[in-house]
């Protein structure tokens, strides 16, 4: 299954502050009412955005200053809660190509990588500095380099982290890992035949 190599993501960024942002907020359940992922870009953070505009605020995703951003900068435990892949699918379809955060929920992280969406972590102070820099200058170009594992933006040059397997998968274009799982599949069948509960515990 060929996928493209992802070495870096460069573009303008959007800061999305807050800890424990769950996938119900990223993609409310009523938008899961479909048999495809098409059109999810229209519903990303739907309720939060509507809520903000009712309160006379502008949600970062609607803020013209951040229009066209391809990098998102988030805080702690982003993507917790429901396993719905609709959340990262919506973000990717909206145009996000890389996420930098303090930490991610495991399921969200795994889903993101399988879509070729790098979700890298950085120290809380570095994330805060990056968010502040983007707020100050929304035109600033943010570069997430997966080879050097650094994020640069203006004068900032920060170390970021990504588990080795995920990094390799992205760098080598093997982030869609199904091909690997299907290799030498006879081995898998032979393996399964030995599992106690698949042979009546004999």
């Amino acid at each position: 299954m060929s996928a493209s190599r992802i070495l870096s993501v460069t573009g303008r960024a959007l800061p999305l502050a807050g800890d424990d942002i769950d996938t119900d907020r990223i993609m409310p359940a009523r938008h899961l009412r479909a048999i495809t992922f098409d059109g999810l870009e229209r519903h990303v953070f739907g309720d939060d955005r509507a809520h903000a505009s009712r309160d006379g605020r502008v949600h970062p995703m609607d803020d013209p200053r951040f229009a066209g951003a391809s990098v998102m900068v988030v805080n702690r435990n982003f993507g917790c809660g429901s396993s719905r892949e609709h959340a990262p699918q919506g973000l990717v379809r909206w145009g996000i190509r890389g996420i930098i955060g303090e930490s991610f929920s495991e399921i969200f992280f795994g889903n993101a990588v399988m879509l070729g969406l790098p979700a890298v972590t950085a120290a809380p102070a570095d994330v805060a500095a990056l968010q502040a820099a983007i707020e100050r200058d929304p035109q600033i170009e943010v570069r997430l380099d997966l080879e050097s594992m650094r994020v640069t933006a203006g004068t900032l040059d920060l170390a970021v982290h990504l588990p080795a397997a995920a990094r390799d998968a992205l760098l080598t274009g093997r982030w869609d890992g199904l091909g690997l799982l299907l290799q030498d599949f006879d081995q898998v069948r032979a393996f399964a035949a030995k599992l106690p509960y698949l042979r009546d515990f004999a």
């Binding site: 299954m1 807050g18 800890d19 424990d20 769950d22 119900d24 907020r25 409310p28 359940a29 009523r30 899961l32 009412r33 479909a34 048999i35 495809t36 992922f37 309720d47 939060d48 509507a50 809520h51 702690r76 435990n77 917790c80 809660g81 429901s82 396993s83 719905r84 892949e85 609709h86 990262p88 930490s103 929920s105 495991e106 399921i107 795994g110 889903n111 399988m114 588990p163 080795a164 397997a165 390799d168 998968a169 869609d176 890992g177 199904l178 690997l180 799982l181 299907l182 599949f185 081995q187 898998v188 393996f191 399964a192 599992l195 106690p196 509960y197 698949l198 009546d200 515990f201 004999a202």
Partner: protein
Amino acid sequence: MAQTLLDKVWDLHTVRRLPTGQTQLFIGLHLIHEVTTPQAFAMLRERGLAPAFPDRIFGTMDHIIPTSSLRRPAPDPVAEEMMATLEANCHEHHIPLYGLGDAHQGIVHVIGPELGLTQPGMTIACGDSHTSTHGAFGALAFGIGTSQVRDVLASQCLAMDKPKLRRVRFEGTMGPGVTAKDLALAMIRQLGVNGGVGFAYEYAGDAVARMTMDERMTLCNLSIEGGARMGYVNPDDTTFAFLRGREHAPKGEAWDRAVAWWRSIASDANAAADDERAIDAARIGPVVTWGTNPGQSVMVDEPIPDPASLPPGEREAALEALQFMGFDAGEAVKRRRVDVAFIGSCTNARLSDLRAAASLVRGQRVARHVRGLVVPGSREVQHAAEAEGLDEVFKAAGFEWREPGCSLCLGMNDDKLSGAETCASSSNRNFRGRQGSPTGRTLLMSPAMVAAAAVAGEVVDVRSVVPRGGAVQ
């Protein structure tokens, strides 16, 4: 060397080490439902693949289905389309499906154990984060996204990293009116909603040893709300007694061999975990959430914390949550008026949950301003409850008695909050918008607490409703 259940079951299912450094993990049981699979089947089709082990896949319908009627085509065309898609996919690939109206249909995490599909020592995956529930049987069970559903369909395997292990010991006797739900919520408050990221949780201690399987399922179900993708209890006689005679449980001599093997995969007595925590079960009271994540909770007789008293990292979120929920710092959760009472979900809609709730509404009426909803976790639970007359108890009290499904747990069908209604809910997530209204407010609590709140029309301490040592389980 002494090994934990995590070590043993992980090793047993390790097909090989992938070039990426991850483990190719064989999945012994794959459960599917109508909402997170249509895209996965479509991806398979695009690649000209078919499920590799269709006899290790079982399907049900729970998330979007109506709970008000079994009519087909369903009145909601989207629900109908999603059900029909699952039916077509299962039919095409010879995957057993417990569809709408089937005697075994229900919430995926309720029917797996009921059917005896869920067994100790298995790896279990499902496109739903509460798959951790099945860990109650000593399985490694976890939620996956749709692309991973595709992978499991195609290969019955996943590329995974082995988690670390945290052992959480609950010691001491739970007080009257206190449930496994309360223990789990208290734990999440203490360890944080992200405290378990990177860990599997092993629940131990004498309080867990005494728990019924229903209680263990509630506890393991909520692992993910504390950030742990899986949580398990080592299998013991309680586990085996539950499984014996179930449709897919081993029979005859295979049963004896199974029990011997199941015992062997439990953690060795002296096996060390990467982290250990102890929680005194005797000090936990009924818990109610006041905020917008499951860690924002208090015991029912405790005031809501002042955000200023919380660690700096939690203050702002707490302030926002208070505002969203319409609570003031220092206020009591007790006496909060509720508009809706929901007894349901994979956390708390098994027979014992319905019994506990029914014991509080028998001969009572739901408060005039409250809409009460009881949604059994499965058809089997529904029938068993009806055989005991629990449906009549609930209906006589003014509750709606529904068909099984997820319903108001996530508000994908017609069961939704409207506006800023407050819902006393036996479900698992109080996230903003979770129950179908962007401004709806969810108070998580045990089913007995929900029942008591429904009758009182406001949050009450279940211990003040029932004589100490009374019928609440």
